[in-house]
């Protein structure tokens, strides 16, 4: 952890893309679970995710980024085949 003397002037961040090192997924109380049998690969979850926490796997199915998903549930709400279910985090 930085001391106050080591704070870059103006608290600028000099490493591009370093926000991905901050695991905002720790804030989550619910997580999305996919039922891939229902998924039609339409990509709505990818489009609506406000945290860019949904990508694609090699088969074209959604790939979840558990380190950054805050569990907002927008993907589950927007999924029109009901392939996404929000479940309580237990850890």
């Amino acid at each position: 952890m930085l001391s106050w003397k080591d704070i870059p002037r103006g608290a600028i961040v000099t490493t591009p893309g370093s926000a991905k090192e901050y695991r905002t997924g720790d804030w989550r109380s619910q997580r999305p679970e996919w039922d891939l049998a229902k998924c039609i690969k339409c990509g709505l979850c990818y489009i609506y995710c406000p945290d860019a926490s949904i990508g694609w796997n090699d088969d074209g199915y959604p790939l979840w980024d558990e380190y950054h998903c805050k569990g907002c549930g927008i993907c589950a709400c927007e999924c029109w085949t009901k392939a996404i279910n929000m479940v309580e985090e237990t850890e």
């Binding site: 930085l2 001391s3 704070i7 002037r9 600028i12 591009p16």
Partner: protein, 391 residues
């Protein structure tokens, strides 16, 4: 050659900004600041000043545009007053924290309500803790010189903070007086081009204004505060350099007949010049009165203040703002606090007057000083007194 001309203090600010060759001005017109930005928009429209003049839709946007402008390394200026400064408030803390240099002329105006376009220091006190360097001007020459000096202070590598130059609305901004307008060659010698090593640059990408969770926020705030406190030495050096070059010296605390004074009146802003007339008259009558004016409001000049009042018996502090239900006027509170640990402390009397554009004439200052001396002798149960109000 610098030339003495009869001009309005607001135009002297605009001329200083032009001489500083700013790159970007983002401002929204508001009384009593309008003459500054009208003049600057004329200079830009007429091609006399090669700058971007951004006509924003509010002061909130003006300060936001200034932050963006400064972040790219552009020399940046804005001006506002009263309610405009309040609307700007949310963004004001950001250039201070992000260490973005810029200069703002603040034409001090009473806050609503009731609505008032006239001057006092309630807007000034409202932005006290935004982290800006704050310098108080007293006359037209001050606003011209200090605006030029403010760019150098703000952009100095040991400072890199935004700077406000406060000037009383109407009582200063709209006064026409003889002012020495600086020569371009002299200003260019004093004020180097703005070189900003933190600027946004695609070849060296940085993020500015990111959020800070609890594990880092306090460290950032301490670093900011230490840097602001440490900027005082550079501010003094730049004031001295300005004086050495151009013959007009400015100090964090200005004194008048204060060396052997038993009673000292403490003021801030353009009313100080009126107060000197009362000091002169009382001195003629054998009353050992002096005057000190706080020029540098932030960072607060603790050592200079303590030094200026070390042998005085009583201080009469005039505030032109109320801290409603508080311990004293805001200036007086700070002076009391600054002197509380001293072994020899003067009596400190808090008076509030000159609100919402009400003038304080020399005879009012005279009776204020005499009343203050009475209170210092007899004591008072009041935390502060509001003077010059009809009973």
């Amino acid at each position: 050659m610098a030339k003495k001309v009869g001009t309005e203090a607001s135009f002297a600010v605009a001329d200083a900004v032009k001489l500083a060759n700013v790159d970007v001005i983002a401002a929204y017109p508001i009384t009593p600041q309008t003459h500054i930005v009208e003049k600057l928009s004329e200079y830009v429209a007429d091609g006399e000043l090669d700058a971007e003049y951004i006509c924003v839709e509010s002061e909130h946007s003006a300060m936001s545009a200034c932050c963006g402008s400064s972040a790219t390394g552009a020399r940046t200026f804005t001006a506002t007053a009263g309610q405009g400064l309040e609307l700007m408030h949310e963004v004001l803390t950001i250039p201070a924290s992000s260490r973005l240099p810029m200069v703002a002329a603040i034409c001090n105006r009473a806050l609503s309500g009731p609505l008032s376009v006239w001057g006092d220091h309630s807007d000034l006190m409202g932005v006290r803790d935004t982290g800006w360097i704050q310098i108080i001007a007293e006359n037209g020459q001050d606003v011209h010189d200090l605006t030029i000096a403010a760019f150098k202070i703000s952009e100095h590598k040991n400072v890199l903070f935004p700077v406000m130059i406060h000037m009383d609305g109407f009582h200063l901004t709209h006064v026409i007086e003889p002012i020495i307008i600086m020569d371009q060659e002299d200003v260019d010698k004093f004020l180097p081009p703005f070189e900003f090593d933190n600027k946004l640059d695609p070849h060296y990408p940085v993020s500015q204004g990111t959020y800070a969770p609890p594990h880092i926020y306090p460290e950032i705030k301490k670093a900011q505060d230490v840097a602001l406190v440490n900027s005082k030495e550079t501010i003094k050096n730049i004031f001295k350099e300005y004086g050495d070059l151009f013959g007009r010296y400015y100090n964090p605390v200005e004194t008048y007949m204060a060396d052997d004074a038993e009673t000292i009146l403490v003021t801030m802003g353009s009313f100080s010049e009126t107060a000197t007339l009362a000091v002169d008259k009382l001195r003629d009558e054998g009353n050992k009165v002096g005057l000190i004016r706080v020029r540098l409001w932030r960072p607060f000049p603790f050592e200079e203040l303590r030094d200026a009042v070390k042998s005085v018996d009583s201080l009469i502090v005039l505030d032109r703002a109320i801290s409603y239900g508080g311990p004293a006027g805001p200036l007086c509170s700070e002076i009391r606090s600054a002197l509380y640990q001293e072994k020899k402390r003067p009596q400190i009397i808090s008076f509030i007057s000159g609100l919402g554009g009400r003038a304080i004439d020399p005879e009012h200052f005279e009776s204020m000083i005499l009343h203050g001396q009475e209170v210092a002798q007899s004591g008072s149960n009041n935390e502060y007194e509001i003077l010059g109000v009809r009973e």
